[in-house]
Symmetry: C2
Subunit: 222 residues, 2 copies
């Protein structure tokens, strides 16, 4: 119960634990030690135990961890069983892909509305869900009270729409628009996703790979 400021580094590792444990559970693995898990995940057993103990003693000495129970505990912490009311704004290539590819319910999110400012897109369906026009955002939010918004709009539109949504009660943004979103109010959560940034770390790595044989070969990327 006593939540004592978990570090961001730990939080960012939780989804990965959840994923690995889910796959182990699916494979029928019942128990696992921090050592085994660490080898499979490519990290130290110490770190796993340290991380998990931020939240409580999920293991049992001499035995290890129950895979399914641990997965569920972490799922609980992440909130995968919640039903966060979520809207998605901007149904270009990326927006459509996010809407159909990301399994929102598995992340504790319920996609309750899709929006686009293009009248040729609004009015149509996407996978059976109607796409509304952005002009109707205000009315929709007053009725439906979404708390999370996925932004797949152009860079210049993002801050404006985000600001409007904040005034309509949205408290968290998953932002795919180019350009970082930021709010003074620390209660408004923002997760800026920049796919190109991720690609650039690869090209950086390739660029310096030709100057090989030189350094100690510590070029691992995960």
């Amino acid at each position: 119960m006593s939540k004592q400021e978990i570090s961001p580094s730990v939080i960012r590792r939780l989804p990965r634990y959840h994923r690995f444990l889910g796959e182990l559970a699916d494979k029928g693995t019942v128990r696992i030690s921090s050592k085994e898990l660490s080898q499979q995940m490519g990290m130290t057993a110490s770190q796993i135990r340290q991380d998990l103990n931020c939240f409580g003693g999920f293991g049992q000495q001499g035995y290890g961890y129950n895979v399914r129970a641990l997965r569920d505990e972490i799922g609980q912490i992440l909130g995968v069983s919640e039903h966060r009311r979520t809207i998605l704004v901007g149904l270009g290539n990326l927006g459509r892909a996010i809407a159909t590819h990301v399994i929102f319910p598995q992340c504790g999110c319920e996609l309750i509305g899709l929006f686009d400012s293009n009248p040729f897109v609004a009015g149509r369906d996407l996978d059976g869900m109607p796409v509304h026009h952005t002009d109707t955002l205000s009315g929709f939010c007053h009725q439906e009270h979404p708390e999370l918004a996925v932004l797949c709009v152009p860079e210049n539109a993002a801050p404006v729409i985000a600001q409007q949504l904040v005034s309509l009660g949205v408290r968290a943004f998953w932002n795919f628009s180019h350009g970082d979103l930021h709010f003074e109010d620390p209660a408004i959560l923002v997760e800026n996703v920049h796919l190109a940034d991720s690609l650039l770390t690869l090209t950086y790595g390739l660029g310096h790979e030709s100057s090989n044989e030189t350094a100690g070969g510590t070029a691992d990327s995960e």
Copy 2:
């Protein structure tokens, strides 16, 4: 010239510097001090200077940095002007969105081939680029020598295709398939992207936001 093992933390910040400086340059800003930039980016001036000095003295005492020159230097380091021969495998929702949404040339990548195992997808076009069948990967690679592959295939297919591609000379993977890719050989670079992981950090934040007023409000997410 003397490359002395840049830390991953620094490397991951480079694309963001590049982005901000690009926008400043577009706005016509000629010079900027580490202090000004730090305020705009939400970080310390110390960190900026420390980061940049891993690569050399790009600034000038008493003046600051020339925006355009610095942007170009960082672009150079990241390799944005390269022409890495790149293929994309898997043209489902996500694959199509990546192919059309990510501006590969801006990341130093040249998309030279699209592949899918579905015969109804292969043979068609995507934005004027032909989609080949995965069966033709081997022949294609022997001729075209791609060095980077974007994987948007299902989880179970990813390791198999990746292994095949490594044997065909591919040295870097931008992996969007569920499940992490990993190679023993440290010369093979992998960047695993898990969009759901990113979303889960938001839902985690929301989940604990109700227990507000308690902690010191250090809930910033960037």
